[in-house]
Amino acid sequence: SAVISQKPSRDICQRGTSLTIQCQVDSQVTMMFWYRQQPGQSLTLIATANQGSEATYESGFVIDKFPISRPNLTFSTLTVSNMSPEDSSIYLCSVVGHNEKLFFGSGTQLSVL
């Protein structure tokens, strides 16, 4: 299994500001994923982050709004830029472990005022 430390666990931010979310994994992993879960909804894949290359974004998500860093095989950050109330959501990082199981961080609950 993989243990993921995600922070912050929650934050309340002002419109127009940016927030960076960090995920630290206890083992080296090739692929990390970032998901968004809006209230009462399912998880939507934002992007896939591979070490040493640009993140791959899903339809509807762009790098300018959600820049991602992946400096090594155990760490990644997601920034939510120029926030608006519509960005209020839970953001989760995830990695693929043994037997293709997904492991998740505990999530970041973001509220934008």
Binding site: F33, S42, L43, L45, T48, N99, E100, K101, L102, F103
Partner: protein, 109 residues
């Protein structure tokens, strides 16, 4: 990503009743996974199905993968209050994982 429809959206049952959630895809799936998310928690892996017609059991939970590999189901026998949560089917496409819409289960004691 692959689109999977999951039904029902919500299910309220009395403790002891059975529960089933279904996932349907318009395309053939290579495999399907099931996750459970407790209220306030993150999704936790339950099972992966790979073979056509596969059936797997975990205590009171029975998972099935359709013969055509286009649908799957999760059945819980004699629900307990600990079964409360949202159940998601998840499909993999080119090493990316896409979540179904989920079924939220509420169990009344």
């Amino acid at each position: 990503g692959q689109q999977v429809m999951q039904i029902p959206q919500y299910q309220h049952v009395q403790e002891g009743e059975d529960f089933t959630t279904y996932c349907n895809s318009s395309t053939t799936l290579s495999n399907i996974q099931w996750y459970k998310q407790r209220p306030g928690g993150h999704p936790v892996f339950l099972i992966q199905l790979v073979k056509s017609g596969e059936v797997k059991k975990q205590k009171r939970l029975t998972f099935q993968f359709g013969e055509a590999k286009k649908n799957s189901s999760l059945h819980i026998t004699a629900t307990q209050t600990t079964d409360v949560g949202t159940y998601f089917c998840v499909t993999a496409d080119f090493n990316k994982f896409y979540f179904g819409s989920g079924t939220k289960l509420n169990v009344k004691p």
